[in-house]
Symmetry: D2
Subunit: 282 residues, 4 copies
């Protein structure tokens, strides 16, 4: 059953829940999920409402138009999505397969409301294992000198494939600010418990530090490396017997869980971003 | 700031969120928390709404009266509580101190919106450590032959002390169905991951079975032993090096966390019970 | 670097560590891992010792012979394995792919010291996805009436493929005692936190009971269903919002982790089984 | 039953386990626990051996003398302790009670092989709650100008009370390097998942960053603030609904678990420190 999903953020004031749910009720909507959060410090009201499209009085287009008006009248912003319109996701990889294969498997088992028409990689290693899946593997090598050219090629491909979301599934390249300005939203998996071990080789540094837990962080990418809004974090226990290679091995499991959970939250339109942080609504 | 907390459960149908929030808005209420859940299988709508009492147009009494009417019109049931009215809780113990001391400490640090005027025990061991706290320690020994008499004494004391909730904090007695019928709601901490190891000596049986995880379960007490609605569950890892005494030791830590979390959910009116299960609303 | 791995279990008495390590030292062995456990209740001594084969004075054959003598002199039993001799593992599946794909991927990333020459299934669904891997997919349908015939076919195939270990990776059939008597050791993944929810449909029953945690248990298969020695257990959190289908989805992640961890312990010869339980040595 | 606990660290070479266990066996020792670890990168051998004192041929004094000789012959260092000789521990606190009360309760339940003759605080708030315990509460206010004087007073008291170990149980003062040079070993609980959020106000900074997990780290204190060897780390989940005060509240639970676990490892002589890291042997 197709549902309408509304995500709204606006300055807090009395009556917002009533107005939103009143509008839905007046159009004969049957609410399936409703979750609201007030961030008192920020003075903001966040709301996620999901209701059946079948039986609702308005068309998809009219819903969007009226919601924009409603959000404007609240001095806020809103997004409307429909559960049967799956985002087109490009997965970026380098040489490691675990997150990529995990995501493709989850698409096959229908855990993930997305289609994956495109995989981008700066290497050729993973091309072969993508063959079984109906997806275009675009290899764009990246060198220091021609990085801008590579990024332009990638942006062009993304545009051609009408990509709505990029997932960096262990893509070992830092994207330029210019790229970020032109690209759709990006979710990255970083192999540490941020903000610990930002940057490169987090497992090596975790081992050096002698930590007893390692982690993974799925976050939106912003201009500041590894400082974007965190969506999900997971951990794994390590002991003195674990070498760096064991941290990497254990990390693979915790990385793919964190990335899959975060991506699922995003695809179900549960994530709301504000002031450098996320709220995950029901 | 005092808040009004409404918990409502009724048959699901369109418009409920709108009617509830509309009623709050029409009385000038400022909603702080709103969480709704639809159990589609059961056809039920569950809602928890919390708003500021200050500025609201209705008195405490009128709120309760109108909510009863509203719930009746929905064919459901509702509870209203005010955040500044702390439940009076009786803690039942036998000889083990860890859950009792933990709860008393949490009251002192103001984690728990409750007062503890009464402790009931079938033993005298813990009387001394309760002396520092302003609480009456009622020792009611329980023997097989005079169990009914003991329970009557306890019920009388509970009534005198106007107890709203009983917490079995490692009370090693099974309460009779007659007791349950006359008593306020009861939360128990069972030292296993229910439904595994119902009944007595769960740690011994867990050790015998060679499990790699042990657990604790906080649940409401019903007539069927260890089968009441589960509020919270926690686990701890064990290894082949752990003897039964180690399971008991590790269990103490996980028990007090599960009990404290569950009790806090209850005291904040986050728990809704239906069809033998609980929903924990935000 | 190839290592020798000794696993010994015998009645406890003073001097055992000294005799074992003395024998290794006298043959010029360089110990890499040594872990011993005394189960005082059972009066048993368990030891796992791993040392370099290179530079050791004895041949593989002589090591095995002398270890048998040593173990006999202790009144116990010992196993010797060499790290470069990978067990040949048959994976049994029905229709669900997650554990199978996870294990095949782990073989490819060299996390698992095993080869997988054979997959057995009572269905054809997973045949196609196994094609990319160099493995024989044997489909043996199982019906109530000809179960014994099916099992005989499977046993014959196992024998032909010289299988050392069977992994039931969501194989939805109960193997007969006759099969168990003739088969190599078997590791099963059960989709509950044993001993809770033994038998069929554990997620449905977990949902019915309203638990707040679900789990998975990897264990050796014995004649008593779901009562074999437990190797590893994992859990996942669930809430009132999770339907049975969500438990199944979350369960897939925790199942494959538990199975992979347990299998890895087994393959590294870290698991010792005694009195219906396991010790996992370093 | 009293046991002897040997902790040895030395350059790795063949025959070490044999020599150590041979020496124990030749003196009629019955080993209860034996755990060895080889750090190949560092070229170091670490060993923890525990055996019964009763029946052993050597006196406590002779054991220590012979072990020193043995360790010298290995070019390493060793420590010998006896399980019935409990360390005298001073607990340092400021105003927060949770770790202090938790540790005192664990002493009472005999989880911790230590005596606590002394509590040091820079405040008076916790004096009253220590009255029920047989312990001297020494209040030493600390001001910027006379910090050195305060530290001298503390060192003198520590010396008078023959303190073997200091536990900083939320002591909100930074000890000078001079203090550290003269003091017994110190274990600190830091309220973050190190190396994230070193220094002050970690919960505030964790909230600012929008993390989904918070943590606690128990570590030995060295001259570099929050950079000493980590003994144990724990985490707790947080959501967008959690304010800083909720992080602090949840943190109290995870802090006391991490500190208690770490301290117990230390008291059981399971912790070995080398190259800025710890190994926790069985």
């Amino acid at each position: 059953m197709t549902t309408v999903i509304l995500q709204l953020i606006c300055p807090d004031r009395p009556g917002l829940v009533s107005q939103l749910s009143g509008w839905i009720a007046s159009n004969n909507g049957n609410i399936r999920h409703a979750d609201h959060h007030t961030d008192e410090g920020a003075g903001l009201f966040l709301s996620r409402l999901e209701w059946d499209l079948a039986g609702f009085n308005l068309s998809r287009l009219s819903i969007k138009e009226e919601i924009v008006q409603l959000a404007n009248s609240f001095g806020g912003k809103a997004q409307v999505n429909f559960s049967d319109e799956f985002p087109r996701v490009a997965i970026f990889v380098s040489k490691q397969s675990h997150c990529l294969l995990d995501l493709l498997w989850r698409v096959n088992t229908q855990e993930m409301n997305m289609t994956v028409p495109l995989i981008v990689s700066n290497h050729t290693e993973l091309q072969k294992i993508c063959e079984g899946f109906d997806v275009y593997y675009k290899c764009v090598p990246v060198n220091k000198d021609d990085k801008l050219i590579s990024e332009k090629i990638i942006l062009k491909t993304i545009s051609e494939y009408k990509i709505d979301l990029i997932v960096l599934a262990k893509y070992m390249q830092i994207l330029s600010n210019d790229f970020l300005k032109s690209s759709p939203p990006i979710i990255n998996i970083h192999h540490s418990f941020l903000p610990a071990f930002k940057g490169s080789k987090p497992y090596h540094r975790a081992w050096e530090r002698g930590v007893k837990l390692i982690g993974a962080t799925a976050h939106y990418v912003t201009e500041n490396l590894d400082e974007g809004p965190i969506i999900d974090q997971t951990i794994a226990h390590v002991t003195h017997r674990d070498e760096v290679s064991d941290l990497i091995r254990k990390g693979r499991d915790t990385e793919r869980i964190a990335l899959a959970r975060a991506l699922r939250f995003h695809l179900r339109r549960q994530v709301m971003v504000y002031q450098g942080r996320t709220a995950i609504l029901a």
